[in-house]
């Protein structure tokens, strides 16, 4: 009368709604990208046409013009000639570029979590929410800054770390309560109201405890496993340090140090590359946990696995394959370092990444959906229930201009050295 982790996982919304084969995931992202691009193009075209109309009557102010993506650089060279306006297609982000940005948003959320000092689970939930949100939304439509902050606020609520929104907003420079709350419905809708995220952290703790018992000789094997606790103990103490290495014979206390070290490494992987890659969309929490542990200590992880599934069984080899594939995904992320990565390599890699992301952000500035810049106003409009996007009248559009410019400025700051005021840890 016990439900296994598997039983529970299979009933979870994560399994039912948030697991995809790689091709399905790619398809979904492509769809989102196409829709967002077309909308950006349509909205920009509409704005341009509107402006052209204005030019016929009065002349548009400079700032009004600066408001239309693609115009800042004089890209359409439309001075005074209504007919030429809107000739140039907006150059939208590709799916790959969008994903680079989403990864950047997630990394920022990681910093955000450290900054406001929430537990790793809250940060991890935030990041998974973000990854889910951006399956159905493009960074061209909703830029990461406000969304990441609002998402973390939601994650605090769902994970039982609720902070009043006024206090939460006060942790950041120039952020209002309204900005934190405005995108809430937008986000929760894209999350399909599935608020539970199943993480691998608890599984890792469980594995750590169990390995400790094996080392102590107190572990009770599963029924099919005919070894005694003492036999398992003596086997585990002989395990080589790395795959293919010579057998060792560590003392119990030395082995305990090895366990602690492995736990630290695996835990770090779960907090970083497991969050910053698509692993949650493709693997179960226990697979992710074992994959991280495999990267930390392969012989020990395979030993652990062999106490769960008999190695001759086809399930064993299948599981090993799955875990290895997951481990490959984890170790492919930039944040992953092992002993062979030099500090210089890592710095070079980070620098390259930063330059590339900056280039995408620059591109993003030309292709943002002009109707979705100011989420606070958008939310108010929503609440008034009257305004459909695309029908904002001129007067409102003008009123929104300043806000939008502010939003853009803030967005730029977001990518600066930043994090919030009183940034001292």
């Amino acid at each position: 009368m016990k439900l296994t982790e598997d039983d529970l996982y299979r009933r979870s919304s994560q399994y039912k709604h948030w697991c995809f084969t790689p091709s399905k995931l790619a398809l979904l992202r492509q769809k989102t990208n196409i829709q967002a691009s077309e909308r950006v193009k349509a909205n920009v075209a509409r704005q341009r046409a509107q402006r052209a109309k204005n030019l016929d009557t009065t002349s548009a102010s400079d700032s009004e013009r600066a408001n239309t993506p693609g115009v800042e650089n004089g890209a359409d060279g439309a001075s005074g000639n209504g007919g030429a306006v809107g000739d140039k297609e907006v150059d939208c982000l590709t799916v790959a570029e969008e994903m680079r940005l989403v990864d950047k948003f997630c990394e920022t959320a990681l910093e955000l979590g450290n900054f406001i000092k929430v537990p790793a689970e809250v940060t991890a939930t935030t990041i998974q929410y973000l990854r889910r949100f951006y399956l159905y939304n493009s960074p061209m439509t909703y830029e990461g800054q406000n969304i990441a902050r609002a998402t973390m606020f939601i994650a605090c609520k769902t994970e039982g770390w609720h902070i009043p929104s006024s206090d939460y907003a006060a942790k950041f420079a120039n952020v209002t309560q309204e900005q934190v709350l405005a995108p809430e419905h937008l986000i929760i809708q894209a999350l399909r109201f599935n608020l539970e995220v199943r993480h691998p952290f608890r599984g890792l703790k469980g594995a750590h405890v169990e390995l400790g018992e094996m080392v102590k000789g107190t572990y009770v094997p599963l029924e099919w496993d005919k070894r005694t606790g003492t036999q398992i103990q003596s086997e585990i103490l002989k395990l080589p340090k790395r795959a293919g290495g010579a057998p060792m014979n560590l003392s119990e206390s030395d082995f305990r140090k090895r366990l602690e070290y492995d736990y630290g490494v695996a835990s770090n992987i779960l907090k970083t590359s497991a969050q910053l890659t698509d692993t949650y969309f493709h693997y179960t929490p226990s697979q992710i946990m074992l994959a991280a542990h495999l990267l930390a200590d392969e012989p020990l992880t395979l030993f652990l696995l062999a106490t769960k599934v008999p190695p001759p069984s086809p399930i064993y080899s299948k599981t090993v394959d799955t875990i290895r594939a997951c481990a490959a995904k984890l170790s492919s992320h930039r944040s992953y370092t092992d002993s062979s990565t030099s500090l210089e390599d890592k710095e070079a890699r980070d620098k390259k990444e930063k330059a590339e992301v900056l280039a995408i952000i620059k591109k993003l500035r030309q292709c943002r959906d002009p109707d979705k810049m100011d989420l606070v106003k958008l939310n108010e409009a929503h609440k008034r229930d009257a305004v459909h996007d695309g029908e904002l009248d001129e007067r409102k559009a003008k009123r929104r201009r300043l806000d939008r410019e502010n939003a853009q400025k803030e967005a730029d700051e977001f990518w600066g050295p930043e994090l919030p005021k009183n940034g001292a840890k």
């Binding site: 982790e5 009933r11 697991c19 226990s286 074992l290 769960k308």
Partner: protein, 407 residues
């Protein structure tokens, strides 16, 4: 690590074989089984600017919303108004649409109640737990939960209705359904934290369903404190009254036992006027535990004011139980006392509860279809509304617990 973490399925989602049912369908959430959805890449309204500027998520939300037709009002609680409704595709398939109220006092967006209820009901699928079919938002940003329609009132209404006669076998049947629900919550690592008669609703086929997950939360990691201000007072276990912030499923077990006793008594088992009085009502029955009875009790936050210099009290003998709860029988009393061990560490777990001999001993629990039931569910609900005025009676003055901001 539980039994077999590694046997976890490779999570190819259900329905992967269906080629037309691509990603969008999957995302269409909880109940879109019957609809066929075009391939996500194929040109559709969704991919052209003619979508009225709607996001994909908004479109999906609208699609979910359109699957239901909302009708007359069924009832109103503190946090929600509940409407009758049905599936558009099948008007005979009834639902209850629970439209969460916007809470003017709560300045932090979507209320914690709604968040908790959504979070946990999305995950819990069990015959004795109210089913959440779908969630959607309306234009005015109200969250609506589409729930299973449960027209036969609640368990508190049932024992209060003296036109209904029932006996020990019926109590066993209802209690068992309740205990299964609690077991499933705990196996799923969810604490309900508000188990009581009027959160136990009854379906048209007499199945009892645990509802109202507005105070629920996941099991906490060891060491992480939780609020002790949960569970309606009559049903609140001693450790919470003593201020314990580290607890587990045992708090729900206590409440569950209170409900079972209530059914047998046809009255509240441990009613009181204040939190302080609640503790003395409890100790009148169970005595005041010493450090030997309950190791660690003296380090609980409110132990000193309550118990340090209190005159000793002895627990009531078996004869008291036999006399008060004859409908339960000796085995039922044994179960109840196991579920109400003062020391939470000694209290039965949900699993142990289900293994108790009471369930298999004579009399056998009544078959669901033979259970006594309240006549006209809907009319009854109207009475419930009137009853809502006399909240004191059901110990529901504890709304404060709900308003707490922490978990």
């Amino acid at each position: 690590m539980a039994v077999s973490p590694v046997l976890s399925p490779k999570p190819n989602p259900p329905g992967t074989k269906a080629t037309t049912n691509a990603s969008k369908a999957k995302a269409l959430a909880i109940l879109n089984h019957s609809r066929s959805v075009s391939s996500p890449i194929a040109p559709s309204a969704a991919t052209t600017p003619g979508d009225g500027g709607q996001d994909l998520a908004e479109q999906m939300n609208d699609e979910v919303r359109r699957q239901f037709v909302s009708g007359s009002r069924l009832g109103e609680g503190t946090y929600a108004i509940v409407y009758r409704g049905h599936f558009r595709s099948d008007p005979s398939k009834l639902v209850a649409i629970k439209k969460m109220k916007l809470n003017a006092e709560f300045k932090d967006g979507i209320t914690l109640d709604s968040i908790r209820e959504m979070r946990h009901l999305c995950e819990l699928d069990h015959p004795n737990i109210i089913k959440l079919y779908a969630v959607f938002t309306t234009k005015d940003q109200n969250i609506s939960l589409v729930l299973e329609h449960l027209p036969r009132g609640d368990l508190e209404g049932l024992w209060k209705d003296h036109s209904i006669m029932y006996g020990g076998a019926d109590i066993k049947s209802w209690s068992n359904m309740l205990c299964q629900a609690v077991w499933f919550c705990h196996e799923s690592r969810v604490l309900h934290r508000d188990i009581k008669g009027n959160n136990l609703l009854i379906a048209a086929d007499n199945t009892l369903k645990l509802a109202d997950f507005g105070l629920a939360r996941g099991f906490a990691d060891p060491g992480r404190p939780m609020t002790s201000n949960v569970i309606t007072r009559f049903y609140r276990p001693p450790e919470l009254l003593l201020g314990s912030q580290h607890y587990g499923g045992c708090v729900d077990i206590w409440s569950t036992a209170c409900v079972i006793a209530e059914l047998a008594l046809r009255d509240f088992f441990l009613p009181s006027e204040t939190d302080l009085a609640q503790l003395s009502v409890i100790t009148d029955v169970f005595g005041i535990p010493t450090e030997t009875d309950w190791p660690g009790i003296s380090s609980l936050r409110h132990w000193e004011v309550n118990f340090k210099s209190a005159a000793p009290k002895r627990p009531q003998p078996l004869s008291f139980w036999r006399q008060r709860l004859p409908l339960l029988g000796d085995d039922g009393i044994d179960l109840l006392r196991g579920m109400m061990a003062m020391d939470p560490a000694k209290r039965l777990s949900a699993e142990q509860v289900l293994k108790h001999a009471y369930w298999t001993n004579y009399p056998r629990p009544t078959k669901k279809e033979d259970l006594p039931r309240q006549g006209d569910g809907e009319k009854k609900m109207g009475e419930d509304l009137k009853r809502a005025g006399g909240e004191l009676e059901s110990g529901r003055t504890d709304k404060v617990a709900r308003k707490l901001n922490f978990g």
